[in-house]
Structures are given as structure tokens and as C-alpha cells.
């Protein structure tokens, strides 16, 4: 059974290597992103030593770590494909087979993430050598363990949230671009991909903390940087896990509803 999804994983890796030029350009894009962020914050910190309670090296470590974390959490070919396949009826190819469509795409996501991680590490080390910024790498076992757990939860949570948003195609097959765009904006900002969330005014920050988004990027990164005290950790892990469970059932619910609609209309 699980061999099916291992095969999917392997095909997905092969698929990524097919377009060499595209692959190389994508890596270059990632490097550019590192550089741009670096110079942006270098510029911001020329006038003051501290900003929003972050020193220059802390801020740089935050944004660099966020890029690494998002390379892992946000690289999801499922997000680019599920909506389209539902909309144009290619979903039928999968539905007639004894195969789980959602596991299939999750396997493809994992393949893409693992590949992305390997290359992001290489690029990251390269940049560290060129720019030699000061990093604070965690040393405590507890921090590392908590980081690994939150990042795993974030990977799963991202899949659930983004898949739910793609299911809109079940009811509006003609276009999900607008929705995809809103989701990306939401995730980029609310998840803490552009700046650490504690930069925001207290009220707004508290409001955002009630949503699942900070558990995608902000918390894994903050834990990695040692910003979260060990007394807060259990609560954060618990809430993250709760979101994962809620979104899992929500996704299953929408999938059932959507399939019902799909098989009554047909495409």
C-alpha cells in the first residue's frame, strides 16, 4: 500500500529534474530572495541598533530562518494542481483507481519539500560564507525537538489549509486564481513570512494568534530562534495540534461534499 506513495515520491523527484533550466532559474530566484532580504534589513538597521525589540543579527536570523522554513512548508505542487484537476475533470483519472487522491498529492508535496530542503541548505551555506552574518543557532535539545515537531505540524497544516482552499473548484470550476492569490497573501503576512509577528501592535497580533496561520511559519521560526520560553511550549504545541486536527476534519468534510457535487455534475 505505502509502496504506491513511495513510487509517487520517486516519480515526483524525477519530474523535478526534467526541466533543468527551470530548475536552475528557480534556485537562482531563491538566492536572489536571500540577497534582497539581507540588503533590505542591512539598510533598515543603518540608522538604529534596535528595532521592534530585534537587534540586527536577530532580525537577519529571523528572516533567513523564515525563508528556510517556508522552503519546507510552502513548497507544495498540490497547491498548483489540485484546483485545476478538479476544474477540468482530470480528477476522474484518479477517482476510477484504487488510490487516495489526497495521499497522492501529499506524497508529491513531500518529494518537492525534501528536494527543496537539500538545495536550500546548500544555498544557505553559500550565503553564510559570502555574507557571514551573525547567526544564533539553537543548541538545546529541547529547542531542536520542539522545532522539528512544530515544523512537521506546519507541513501538514499547510497541506490541509491549501487543499481546502483549492476545493473551491468543486463549486466554481472556472476560476480559482483569485482565491489562490488571497490565500498566498494571507499566508505570507499572517504566517510571519515577511516580518516577525511581534512587530505588530498588540491587539492585531493577538487577533492573528487566534488563526491557524502563525503556526505555519512564525512559531517554528520563533522556536528555532529561542524566542519562546519552555513554559509556553506545551501550549503552542497543543494549539498547533488542535488546528491540524480541525483542518484535517474540515478537509475531509469538504472533500466528501465536493465529490458529491462532482459526481452529480460531472466534468
Amino acid at each position: 500500500m505505502s509502496k504506491i506513495y513511495l513510487t509517487v515520491f520517486s516519480l515526483a523527484w524525477q519530474n523535478e529534474f526534467v526541466y533543468r533550466l527551470n530548475f536552475i532559474l528557480w534556485r537562482i530566484r531563491n538566492l536572489m530572495r536571500f540577497f534582497l532580504t539581507f540588503f533590505l534589513w542591512e539598510g533598515v538597521f543603518t540608522t538604529s541598533k534596535q528595532m521592534f525589540g530585534y537587534s540586527k543579527s536577530e532580525m537577519l536570523t529571523y528572516v533567513f530562518t523564515v525563508i528556510l522554513v517556508s522552503a519546507l512548508v510552502q513548497s507544495a505542487p498540490s497547491a498548483d494542481n489540485i484546483g485545476g484537476e478538479i476544474g477540468n475533470g482530470d480528477l476522474s483519472n484518479y477517482l476510477v483507481k484504487p488510490l487516495s487522491y489526497l495521499k497522492y498529492w501529499f506524497s508529491r508535496d513531500l518529494a518537492s519539500k525534501s528536494l527543496n530542503l537539500v538545495f536550500a541548505m546548500v544555498e544557505f551555506s553559500l550565503l553564510a560564507i559570502i555574507l557571514h552574518p551573525v547567526f544564533a543557532i539553537p543548541t538545546k535539545i529541547l529547542t531542536i525537538a520542539a522545532f522539528l515537531i512544530t515544523i512537521s505540524l506546519a507541513v501538514v497544516l499547510y497541506f490541509f489549509i491549501s487543499t481546502c482552499s483549492r476545493f473551491i473548484s468543486f463549486w466554481a470550476p472556472e476560476n480559482t486564481w483569485g482565491v489562490s492569490f488571497i490565500i498566498v497573501i494571507f499566508i505570507e503576512t499572517l504566517a510571519g513570512s515577511i516580518f516577525p509577528l511581534d512587530v505588530l501592535p498588540e491587539n492585531l497580533k493577538n487577533l492573528i494568534m487566534l488563526t491557524p496561520f502563525p503556526y505555519l511559519l512564525y512559531f517554528p521560526t520563533a522556536i528555532f530562534l529561542g524566542k519562546i520560553s519552555s513554559t509556553q511550549l506545551p501550549k503552542i504545541l497543543f494549539i498547533a495540534l488542535t488546528w491540524v486536527i480541525i483542518m484535517f476534519f474540515f478537509m475531509r468534510y469538504l472533500w466528501g461534499k465536493g465529490l458529491k457535487n462532482y459526481s452529480s455534475e460531472g466534468r
Binding site: 509502496k3 504506491i4 513510487t7 509517487v8 516519480l11 524525477q14 519530474n15 526534467v18 526541466y19 475533470g89 482530470d90 476522474s92 483519472n93 477517482l95 476510477v96 483507481k97 484504487p98 488510490l99 459526481s263 452529480s264 455534475e265 460531472g266
Partner: protein
């Protein structure tokens, strides 16, 4: 023998929204949509036994694909009952899915950027095909279809014909008992069509699998299927042997005559229905039982150079059938 496929009183209605033409119509449809009901399949029943190769024919939008989708479990019926191999298809049980395959000529299940063989490996795992059987089946099927040398080439680089053949191999790796082929020869050239047909025929005989085939091309059906189901506007117009269509819908034969000198046309019209006359050549429709006798009187009474008696073309008969059904529904 128990039938493999049993459909009774199947109905499948859709709601489709309609839009007034133009930009204004588009804007209005954003806020208020008017729906109308399409009867894609309207109360059809049929049974198919094991090993039968059935041709489903009908014009675009007749309900062929909808029926196949219901049989595959992609659509659930609005009413009526459907059993395939004893299962209700729309429950999508994996025991059922392991025993059938659906190939749609317009859809592509192979990974576009990888060689077809990689997709075969994935299907092998999905259907749990043992290694030795997998190797044997791939070799055998790709030999039959003559695509052994392109299995390691990216699918996107294949010709349409090669790709369709590879699609077919992928769909047959688990040796399905029931096979639904929706327009398998669409867009193929004559040679590739022929190859495809030969393959389907051979496969059906060799593995005794039950096959339903839909097609626009009469050629496919004429060559492959003993039994045809003609469907139009969601209703079955005919279900029976191909040869009996001729007798049922075309109780006439066509006499082709070449004359030495121009005949008396008024006298000629008394023989039968003169369909065509030009350049000393005539086509006359006559009642099938009287064909021989009338041909005799033509030979004795007219300056005939050459004469043949022919069955009317299958395409013409089917077109007639559809025309008649349109008349019926319009009245």
C-alpha cells in the same frame, strides 16, 4: 450466464446554467443564474454478458460518455439501478476498481514529462500487480501495439497514436475484466486506427474481457462489434446485432446500373426510387425482397452495360435513424 453489466431504468439529469450572450449577460449571470435541466441519459436499460464487445454509437451529446461515467462510478445516477460485476459503481470500492479500466481518448493519465514506462510502474503499484506478471504483460501488450521502442521516451515527445497506445497499455496492466473505451481512436490516422482496432479485437478474444466502446467512427464499430447500442438524446434507439440494423432500418437495397445509351427516365422511375442519375449511371432503391426480380427486368428491358446490387451504406442507415428520431421529438 449472469450478466456482467446490468443497467435498468437509468436516468441522469444535470442542471446547467445558461448565460445570455455578451458582457451584460456575463455580469447578470454573476448575480442570478438561470438553470435548465439536461436529460443526459433518459431511462435506459441494457444487459451485457461476459466477453461481449459492445459498440455505443450516437452523435455528440447523445449520452454515451455520461453512461460510461456512471458505469465507472464517476457519476451517480439520478435514478435507476446500475450493477457492474455485481458492484454499485458509484460506491468506488477498491475491489471493484481493481477489476475495470476506463480509457478516455481525450484524457491523459500518463505522466507527461516522464517516459510511459514510469507511469506503468506506478499503475503496477496501484493495482498491486506482481513483478513477473507486470513484465510479461508490458512486453506482450507493447509488442501487440508495436510501441516497445518508445516506452523509455518522454510521453510529451510521442505522437498522438503512440501516446494512445501507451495509455491503453497502462490501463490494461491489471488485466481488467471490464474495459470502457471512450473514443479510443479519436484523432488517429487511418493506420493507427486500424492497429488500435486489431488490438482491441485480439485483446477481447484472448482475455475474454467485456468491452464497451464508444466511437464516432462507424469503421470502429463495424469492424469490432457484433452488437451495437444506438443512443440519441439520452435514449436507446436500437440495441441488437449490427447485421439486423440493416433489415430493421433499411428494408431496401440499392441497384447500381450503368447504361449503354440514355434510358427512358420515366420508365426507369417505375422500377424503384431513383436516387441519382447522371452520366448514364443510376442508383435505384428497391425493396430488398424484390431486388433480384427487378434487376432481372432492368437487364431485359433496358440497355444495361453493368449492374450491381448493394446493401445501403451503414453510415447512411445510422444517419437515417438519427434523422427519424429528431423528427419524432420535434413533432
Amino acid at each position: 450466464m449472469d450478466s456482467v453489466i446490468k443497467v435498468s431504468n437509468l436516468k441522469k439529469y444535470y442542471k446547467v446554467h445558461q448565460k445570455d450572450p455578451g458582457l451584460l449577460g456575463s455580469l447578470r449571470s454573476l448575480f442570478r443564474r438561470e438553470y435548465f435541466e439536461v436529460k443526459a441519459v433518459d431511462n435506459i436499460s441494457f444487459e451485457i454478458d461476459q466477453g461481449e464487445l459492445i459498440g455505443f454509437i450516437g452523435p455528440n451529446g447523445a449520452g454515451k460518455t455520461t453512461t460510461l461515467k456512471v458505469l465507472s462510478g464517476l457519476l451517480y445516477p439520478s435514478s435507476g439501478s446500475v450493477r457492474v460485476l455485481g458492484y454499485e459503481p458509484f460506491k468506488r470500492q477498491s475491489e471493484f476498481q481493481r477489476q475495470f479500466s476506463l480509457v478516455m481518448g481525450q484524457k491523459n493519465q500518463l505522466w507527461w514529462d516522464l517516459p510511459a514506462f514510469e507511469s506503468f510502474i506506478l499503475n503496477k503499484e496501484i493495482y498491486g500487480v506482481p513483478d513477473d506478471i507486470f513484465k510479461k504483460t508490458v512486453t506482450e501488450l507493447s509488442q501487440m501495439l508495436d510501441i516497445e521502442d518508445v516506452l523509455k521516451v518522454q510521453v510529451r515527445k510521442l505522437s498522438l497514436g503512440q501516446r494512445m497506445k501507451a495509455e491503453l497499455v497502462a490501463a490494461l496492466l491489471h488485466r481488467p475484466k471490464v474495459l470502457f473505451l471512450d473514443e479510443p481512436t479519436i484523432g488517429l490516422d487511418v493506420l493507427a486506427q486500424k492497429k488500435m482496432r486489431d488490438f482491441i479485437k485480439e485483446y477481447n478474444q484472448k482475455y475474454k474481457s467485456t468491452i464497451i466502446l464508444t466511437s464516432h467512427y462507424m469503421g470502429d464499430v463495424k469492424e469490432l462489434c457484433k452488437r451495437v447500442i444506438i443512443i440519441d438524446r439520452g435514449m436507446i434507439l436500437y440495441d441488437g446485432s449490427l447485421s439486423a440494423i440493416v433489415e430493421k432500418f433499411a428494408p431496401f437495397k440499392v441497384i447500381n446500373v450503368d447504361f449503354e445509351v440514355a434510358p427512358d427516365l420515366d420508365r426507369l422511375k417505375k422500377i424503384g426510387k431513383l436516387v441519382k442519375y447522371e452520366d448514364l449511371h443510376a442508383e435505384i432503391e428497391v425493396h430488398r425482397e424484390k431486388a433480384a426480380k427487378l434487376a432481372g427486368s432492368l437487364l431485359s428491358d433496358f440497355p444495361v452495360a453493368d449492374l450491381t446490387i448493394e446493401e445501403p451504406a451503414m453510415e447512411d442507415i445510422i444517419r437515417d435513424v438519427f434523422n427519424k428520431s429528431n423528427l419524432l421529438t420535434e413533432v
